[in-house]
């Protein structure tokens, strides 16, 4: 159903139509592309249509990648195995499950971070050693009060 003659020339007698998109996309063999260009040189209608579809093509190609909602794949991962086992095929159910799974994960995180750690964790450096080092350093100076003054609470006596 080619609209080109054996020599690659346009043989349809009308306009190029979808050949224009094929030309834009590099989908025409060289002889047919040459035939299409020759037709375009003499056909304002096809030239105008080429510009129009070329514009639309550029717009779609310029569309950016789209980020999925935050945590979308993570929620699916949590929900994946139960969904496979039941294989209900109910997509709305899948989405609800994903939301519940996210809530469960959030609750688990709160438990681990808050309630789940009743005893204080050791800190580094050790606080007793830090206090001891500070005391040693402070005692080297002649005037302990003047060393403490910049960080102490201003006080006055007899007023």
């Amino acid at each position: 159903m080619s609209r080109f003659g054996t020599n690659g020339g346009f043989a349809g007698g009308g306009h190029l139509g979808d050949v224009l998109s094929a030309l834009l996309d590099g989908e025409l063999p060289a002889p047919q592309a040459e035939g299409a260009r020759a037709h375009l040189a003499a056909c304002p209608d096809c030239t105008q249509e080429l510009a129009a579809v070329s514009q639309a093509r550029s717009w779609v190609r310029a569309l950016p990648l789209v980020d999925p909602p935050f945590g979308f794949y993570e929620r699916m991962l949590l929900d994946h195995q139960p969904a496979l086992r039941s294989a209900t095929g109910d997509r709305a159910t899948l989405r609800r499950r994903a939301g519940l799974a996210a809530l469960g994960a959030a609750a688990a995180a709160v438990t681990v971070l808050g309630v789940g750690s009743p005893s204080p964790r050791p800190v580094s450096p050790s606080m007793p050693r830090l206090v001891e080092a500070h005391a040693t350093s402070a005692s080297v100076g002649a005037d302990l009060l003047s060393k403490l003054a910049p960080v102490g609470v201003p006080v006055s006596f007899g007023r």
Partner: protein, 166 residues
Amino acid sequence: MSGSGIPTWEEVARDHGRFLYTVAYRLTGNSNDAQDLVQEVLLKVRRGLETYRPGSLEGWLSRITTNTFLDETRRQRRRPVDLLPEDPDRVVPPSPGADVALAAEALPDHVQEALRALPEEYRAAVVMCDVVGLSYQEISDSLDVPVGTVRSRIHRGRALLRKTLA
């Protein structure tokens, strides 16, 4: 990759999650439907219902995504209330007037809306060509239609997009 050659769910999500969601979003036109579509695709991948062909993983994913989308569209089309008009021109919303000429920052939204207004077969062909970057032959193989049909759908889709956004 798993032993069967089919990528694992985690690999697809980690390495191609953004791409997959983008294709789904461009096909469906909204976030909820895109999420549903991605879930369907990943379940198919996980179940091994589709045979992975060594080559472009993203081409393979886009084929599954597009066919899943079109299957769902056809299923809905069989419902009387969801019948689509036969004439593609009838589904194209009115063109914006000159006073609402496309602002550069709003262009992607306008293009997405115009894309969404296309008949699904045109939209699928345009997305596979201009978003995914597949050749006409690859699209033909994916959709199981002749190359000439692919060419026609792409061209008509673009022409309708341009008409909508003129």
